[in-house]
């Protein structure tokens, strides 16, 4: 059956509510027939009226409520309307949820669903990628599914995870990414594992979230036009990082390009390059490269927006520069 990325999230949420009385959903506009700003909870909200609750516009309280309910044995899933608004919950996430296990020995299992990433016209406050500042803090698990199957499996695994999980779901993929999905046959990797989406020996392209699809397209271009065989890694889980898969791939290819939709400074791409440079230096045949969004707030106009973040063509250009080193 062909389903969209958003429908995979809805499926995982609906099944979790059906199967586990500890699960409840809390967020703005998610209840009843309305079913959320992006309609993720449409249908399931009506089926589980007692456990799908609208919240006030109070992101800090949403996160604090998730922490409290998790400590009392529930498995809360809180929906942020846009990941940009998770800044309001920053304190509860990084100072509270992230520190509870370390400080007290108790686990704090909840999922914060964060619609991330840009869409044309979204502008500076509805397009951001929060994974870099969230993953800076020990104690938070930060994941970013890029496929329909991962949207389903990673959400179910995130709900099962004992730690607070920041679930970065890309809102461009919501309706634009569709795939055949059969949960009994689809590949289901563990939550903390990276995936090799395409094998190849010439250069490793590392990405996550929506940018994985540009990386795969870049690999196609490089294969078709330049006879290059690129390996594409989808990190899936950004914190903790699957360092083994990254280093093993670089050992095979000797070249690495990291492509993200996020800003460059202090980001996940920088972390991957630090890892490759310090622990995989002997494997490298060329300087590791990163390709990130431009270092400004995210622009409103579709033309400016398109120029702001990497695409397949630009990734392919950087891979060619790396190959020519």
């Amino acid at each position: 059956m062909t389903i969209a990325y958003l429908e995979a999230i809805r499926l995982a949420l609906g099944e979790s509510l059906d199967e586990d009385p500890r699960v409840f959903l809390y967020g703005q506009d998610i209840a009843g027939a309305f079913g959320g700003a992006f309609k993720v909870t449409k249908g399931i909200a009506e089926r589980h009226q007692d456990r799908v609750l609208n919240s006030p516009i109070s992101e800090d309280a949403m996160a604090g409520i998730a922490i409290g309910a998790a400590l009392e044995g529930m498995r809360p899933v809180i929906e942020f309307q846009f990941a940009d608004f998770a800044t309001i919950a920053f304190n509860q996430f990084v100072n509270h949820a992230a520190t509870i296990h370390w400080r007290t020995g108790r686990s704090c299992p909840f999922v914060a669903r964060l619609p991330v990433g840009g869409t044309p016209g979204g502008g500076p406050f509805h397009s951001q990628m929060p994974e870099s500042w969230l993953s800076h803090h020990p104690g938070l698990v930060v994941v970013a599914p890029a496929t329909v199957a991962d949207a389903y499996f990673m959400l179910k695994d995130a709900i099962a995870c004992l730690d607070p999980v920041m679930f970065c779901e890309h809102k461009y993929l919501y309706y634009h990414l569709k795939a055949d999905f059969d949960k009994t046959r689809a590949e289901h990797l563990p939550l903390g594992a990276a995936a090799i989406r395409r094998g190849g020996g010439d250069c490793t392209i590392i990405s996550y979230s929506g940018m994985v699809h540009e990386a795969l397209r870049a690999a196609e271009i490089l294969s078709r036009d330049h006879d290059l065989d690129c390996e594409v890694i989808d990190l899936r889980c950004l914190r903790p990082l699957d360092t083994e898969t990254i280093l093993n791939s670089v050992a095979r290819t000797g070249r690495v390009v990291v492509a993200t939709e996020s800003w460059p400074f202090g980001g996940v791409a920088a972390e991957v390059l630090a890892l490759v440079s310090s622990e995989g230096f002997s494997h490298l045949d060329a300087p590791p490269r990163r390709l990130c969004a431009l270092d400004t707030p995210i622009p409103f106009h579709p033309d400016l927006f398109a120029a702001h973040h990497p695409d397949a063509e630009r990734i392919a250009d950087v891979v060619l520069e790396t190959m020519a080193f």
């Binding site: 109070s58 309280a61 409290g68 009392e72 509270h96 400080r103 903390g192 889980c237």
Partner: protein, 349 residues
């Protein structure tokens, strides 16, 4: 290592369900106030002896209000104290030994030296380990009460109660506003104790809020609000007792605002010379006032009160002696792991 619930030695549990007379209640209240004051005093001495890392934050002047909150709760309730709540914590069930261990950063403490002083707690007892960000604990109490409602535990007319502390400073934090509003929307049995001690660190109320009285905000949030003189022990018991009873009966969230004065600096490091003699002269010391009242009313003699202090100091000395023999955390033995999941690569449903 989970923190284990421990019994407080010697002092009978104030949460026992025996039909205590008002006088018994008031004597037990004074005992918690004195125990907290004596413990705060001892922690200050330990700091002077360089046995306590970090600063020491006391609840001096706020014991009557805080102890009343803690002792009017019962097992199964939730309490989110703040830094001035030594008295309420003890009355709710925190042990003296854990206070001493945590302040000394001992490996045996509930926080194992990873966190210290007023951030201690025992989630198994419903005593939340506060973070330093004011207002942040209140939504956690909301979440705990919501969880109990999901679990079918919030039914009937004798509900469990979630109590949270805040002050005149914290009342202006965004997190507090969000949490209090959410508690009211959910009509939860929450009691918010607001200790208006006149000063947020060194900033007086005229620079922290502009409404006439903080209790005026109760109606704005959809809370039932009441005020009391925070230096008057009987008034604190009456106001909080009424608020807790209303919450238990299902009348929704309650706010109790106490007027009092912080009789110390923000922490031991702060001489608080910004508190003028004129301001000090307007507020009494709740422990002195209550001791005098109970003596005048013939409930306790001077000797009885002296014995309460002696008993408190004896208990505290025993705890300090024990804690001093206990090990500090060992960096070489630490797991240095912030995650509950041992291996994310094994998490697969």
């Amino acid at each position: 290592m989970k923190p284990q619930p421990q019994k407080l030695p010697s002092i009978a549990s104030p949460k026992a369900s025996d039909p205590a007379s008002i006088n018994d209640l008031r004597v037990r209240h004074l005992r918690w106030m004195i125990l907290a004051r004596a413990l705060d005093d001892r922690m200050c001495k330990l700091k002077a002896q360089n046995l306590v890392p970090g600063s020491v934050f006391t609840g001096r002047g706020q014991e009557a209000f805080s102890a009343a909150g803690g002792m009017l709760l019962r097992p199964g309730d939730v309490f989110a104290p703040l830094i001035r709540d030594q008295a309420g914590r003890l009355a709710f069930g925190e042990t003296i030994i854990d206070v001493v261990r945590t302040c000394m950063g001992k490996r045996t403490s509930s926080m194992r030296g990873r966190d210290g002083n007023i951030h201690r707690g025992n989630i198994d007892l419903g005593l939340l380990p506060m973070i330093s960000h004011l207002g942040a604990m209140v939504s956690v109490v909301v979440g705990m009460l919501m969880a109990r409602r999901f679990q079918g535990k919030l039914v009937g007319n004798d509900l469990c109660v979630g109590m949270a502390s805040i002050g005149d400073g914290g009342m202006n934090a965004g997190a507090l506003h969000e949490a209090v509003n959410a508690a009211a929307v959910e009509k939860l049995p929450m009691v918010l104790l607001v200790a208006n001690n006149q000063v947020a660190y060194s900033t007086f109320n005229d620079r922290t809020y502009a409404c006439k009285d903080l209790v005026d905000r109760a109606a704005g949030y959809g809370f039932n609000g009441q005020s009391c003189d925070g230096t008057d022990a009987a008034a604190c018991l009456a106001a909080i007792g009424d608020a807790v009873a209303r919450a238990r009966r299902g009348e929704g969230p309650q706010m109790v605002v106490a007027t009092l004065l912080r009789l110390a600096g923000h922490g031991l490091h702060d001489p608080a010379d910004y508190i003028t003699p004129e301001l000090k002269s307007r507020f009494g010391d709740c422990i002195q006032l209550d001791s005098n009242t109970l003596k005048i009313q013939g409930v306790l003699s001077e000797q009885d009160i002296e014995r309460l202090w002696e008993d408190a100091r004896t208990l505290i000395s025993a705890a300090v002696e024990q804690a001093q023999t206990e090990p500090d955390p060992d960096p070489g033995q630490e797991t240095w792991n912030a995650y509950a999941e041992p291996d994310l690569k094994k998490v697969r449903t």
